[in-house]
């Protein structure tokens, strides 16, 4: 079946769903079950078409070569191989036909005419395929879950409309064949994130800071704007340098330019600027502050947008631009350091939260840090793999927490949970499986992806043992705070108020069913990408199917490393990819494997030790660690620091601008108006209605003209 030429339809299904639900629900035509019937169908259709397209793609794109040659402006086909990624692109329409623009190249005296043409280009390769399937599959499941979670909400239709719009934008981001189409999706998902965080716009969100949900939405939007500014600058620098935004043309141009003297600083600059965009969207240090507050949104939104899909857009973008990053070791270093720091820093904050969603939020920030750590050390495949597994286990955790929140009187406070295992067995078991996965128990998905990232950060040519150490410390904390959440929520004595305890029960099937599917994914998905090091231990060969599929997309081309040796994992002639600085020995692999399990067990043990016996020891220790707890609970006072360093000066400038605007700009305008009026008031007196006076003025004028002519 020929599906690939129609991939541009995929985002249109949810977009149509958004328009139908949005307008008809607002008009009051669409009511009740029809809202979610339309919305879920739209999302499911996107999934079906995506799956068909990926199926078509996996059969090879050679069949489309004749189509591409018959309409070269519309279709483009790259038939890949071991090192070259297969790709199918369709340009639906022209968008920016800026042919003949003069662009100044970076080398002196190098002016040239550029043929900058940006079209509505949608393309599909292995990386897109992975993202497509994750986004549409998890997205559809979360649509289904929302039927149960949002039941009876007065904004039911609004919620599903936004959710569909988000899907459309996310799919645009993923399918975009150039940076500009990707940016449309990038901004679109930011908009949907804002709309959905502020979904309960009139309700208070954080009693400590007095924020409303609308404030949280604004915070997310504005923080993202800071990052997007960097993204845009990076994109513009790309246009100025290479005269194109097309991903295919870019990687060729970058590989071609790598020999010039200006390539390294310029590519590093572009890489860092684009990464600034990623720190905003993917909540990395220093722009992560919005994500914990994004928990003001409904829980399915937290699961879909702020865990599984949107926040991973930065990782996707970096992998998409991997050609650039391979040639910019400086930028990769920045990415790796920021990722590792975020992974540890966010984990420390997750330890002291009582709000279950905030624990998960900091966990998300931390896990995204691991993905960036992976991308930064060149383990793009592992980073994307962690993205996929994280999408499943974190979505499951969030939806599990939503199931708990909905049954516990809509409180997020884990101090008011406890012992829920008895009432909510399905939620408990799925939550536990996902916790085991994220904490890194051996065969589950989180182990496969996270520990592959850590191993690569230790062994890769661009890694460093310090990065690995920071990541491993973060992993201990991950295991700890996740099991802390499990014990506080599901074990021990129930601490809910009486009226809540009386009506405690399991969530409806529509919710638990989704949890089960996601938990199954969280448990088993790791098997599609068993790292080489692990499969070697159990006596299997190279069974990393995921890496085989994805590798050609993110492989480094044209990068030759001095450390490149013949024994590098998968290294070919003059090609370095996921190169290993040190090739790990069998013993080292075993050591890492056992260490990973040790990390898992340490966190688990600590959590059990402190929170196991109905939180007895945690309670006993609390006074002694009061200071640390306060520091962590208040998130290292980063919000306060930003308030002092950024917001306060900003407000001061804004107030200065306000005065300037009020008195100088408005003053000038008002003066002009007043002067005109005064002139009019005086001059109108000449129009007195007496004809003879007019004749006199006429005469005066004539005499004046005559006098001037005679002079």
């Amino acid at each position: 079946m020929n599906v690939l030429p129609y991939i541009w339809l995929i985002p249109l299904f949810p977009l149509a769903g958004f328009l139908v639900v949005g307008t008809l629900w607002t008009m009051g035509v669409l009511r009740g079950a029809w809202v979610h019937r339309v919305a879920v169908t739209a999302s499911a259709l996107a999934f079906v078409v995506s799956a068909l397209a990926v199926w078509d793609f996996s059969g090879g794109v050679e069949r489309y070569e004749s189509l591409a040659s018959s309409a070269p402006g519309r279709y483009a086909v790259t038939v890949g191989g071991e090192e070259e990624a297969s790709r199918f692109s369709v340009t639906v329409a022209e968008w920016v036909p800026a042919g003949g623009t003069v662009l100044r190249g970076w080398d002196p005296g190098h002016r040239r005419w550029s043929d900058l043409r940006v079209g509505w280009k949608f393309s599909l390769d292995a990386l897109t395929a992975v993202m497509l399937l994750v986004v549409t599959f998890v997205g559809t499941l979360i649509h289904v879950y929302s039927i149960g979670y949002m039941a009876g909400d007065p904004g039911y239709g609004r919620f599903f409309a936004y959710l569909n719009l988000f899907m459309a934008m996310m799919l645009t981001l993923v399918l975009g064949g150039n940076l500009l189409v990707m940016f449309v999706g990038w901004e679109g998902v930011g908009l949907c994130s804002y709309l959905l965080i502020g979904f309960f716009y009139d309700q208070p969100f954080d009693r400590e800071s007095g924020l409303t949900c609308a404030d949280a939405g604004r915070k997310a939007f504005i923080t993202n704007r800071v990052g997007d500014f960097g993204f845009l600058l990076g994109a513009l620098l790309l246009v100025v340098t290479f005269g194109t935004l097309d991903f295919d043309a870019l990687s060729a141009a970058i590989n071609g330019a790598s020999g010039y003297w200006y390539a390294a600083p310029l590519l590093t600059g572009i890489g860092v600027l684009l990464f600034v965009g990623a720190t905003g969207k993917s909540a990395q240090v220093p722009l992560y502050v919005w994500l914990p507050d994004a928990m003001a949104g409904p829980t399915p939104v937290s699961a879909l947008i702020h865990a599984a899909t949107m926040v991973t857009a930065g990782v996707y973008m970096l992998s998409r631009m991997s050609a650039l990053y391979w040639h910019a070791p400086g930028a990769m270093f920045v990415v790796a350091v920021v990722g590792a720091l975020t992974a540890l820093f966010a984990a420390t904050m997750g330890v002291a939260q009582y709000d279950i969603k905030k624990v998960l939020a900091y966990s998300t920030v931390s896990q995204l840090g691991y993905m960036f750590l992976g991308a930064g050390v060149g383990a793009f495949v592992a980073a994307v793999f962690h993205l996929v597994t994280h999408a499943f286990f974190k979505a499951c955790l969030f939806l599990g927490s939503g199931s708990v929140i909905a049954r516990c009187g809509h409180t997020n406070d884990m101090r008011l949970y406890g012992g829920l295992k008895k009432w909510m067995p399905v939620t408990y078991w799925t939550f536990l499986v996902s916790t085991l996965a994220i904490a890194g128990l051996a065969p589950l998905s989180g182990f496969m992806s996270k520990d592959e990232i850590l191993a690569q950060s230790l062994f890769s040519t661009r890694g460093h043992w310090l990065l690995w150490l920071v990541g491993t410390l973060g992993a201990v904390l991950t295991s700890f705070y996740m099991f802390r959440a499990v014990w506080m929520t599901f074990h021990g004595r129930n601490r809910s108020p009486e009226w809540v305890r009386e009506q405690l029960r399991e969530s409806p099937r529509v919710m638990t069913g989704v949890l089960v599917v996601l938990a199954l994914g969280a448990a088993t998905l790791g098997l599609i990408g068993v790292p080489h090091g692990v499969s070697r231990l159990v006596g299997l060969g190279d069974v990393n199917w995921f890496a085989h599929v994805l590798h050609p997309v993110v492989a480094a081309r044209g990068v030759v490393s001095a450390a490149h040796g013949g024994h590098g994992h998968g290294a070919g002639e003059g090609v370095l990819r996921e190169g290993f600085r040190v090739h790990p020995t069998y013993g080292q692999e075993w050591g890492l494997f056992l260490l990973a399990l040790g990390v898992f067990a340490t966190g688990l043990g600590l959590a059990w030790w402190a929170y196991g016996n109905d939180m007895a020891r945690a309670r006993a220790l609390a006074p002694r660690f009061a200071y640390v707890r306060r520091l962590l609970h208040r998130k290292w006072f980063v919000d306060e620091l930003y308030g002092k360093l950024v917001l306060k000066p900003f407000y001061a400038i804004a107030r200065g601008m306000d005065v300037f605007d009020r008195w100088v700009v408005d003053g000038a305008v008002n003066f002009a108006a007043a002067a005109s009026e005064l002139t009019g008031q005086v001059v109108k007196l000449f129009q007195d209605g007496i004809v003879r006076h007019y004749a006199l003025w006429l005469l005066g004028g004539a005499v004046a003209v005559l006098w001037m002519m005679m002079r």
Binding site: K684, L685, Q687, G689, I690, R692, A695, L696
Partner: protein, 107 residues
């Protein structure tokens, strides 16, 4: 008898000044119209006199001034018709032909 064109122009200027004085000083609409008529005809006189001293040239020779005077006569006739109609309308409205009474059209 040959008249000096210069003295005709002076006469024209005097007639024009009288007309202007009439328009500005008199409140009666009819006299005001007469002043206007006087100014127009002073203009005619100047045109005809100037035509006399213009060197001949073109198909019409120095007839331009005379032709223009005819044009002014025609326009003056139309102007008189409209002006008198206005005077009548003013009289019907106000019971007088004093133009200073018609002063509603002002600030």
């Amino acid at each position: 008898m040959q008249v000096d064109p210069g003295s005709v122009l002076v006469l024209s200027a005097i007639l024009f000044a009288i007309g202007v004085f009439g328009v500005i000083s008199r409140r009666g609409a009819v006299v005001l119209l007469m002043g206007v008529e006087l100014m127009l005809n002073a203009g005619n006189l100047a045109l005809v006199a100037a035509a006399r001293v213009t060197p001949a040239g073109g198909e019409l020779g120095a007839m331009d001034g005379q032709v223009l005077a005819f044009l002014v006569l025609a326009i003056a006739a139309a102007e008189a018709a409209v002006g008198l109609a206005l005077v009548i309308a003013l009289f019907r409205h106000k019971g007088s032909v004093d133009v200073d009474l018609a002063r509603m059209l002002r600030w």
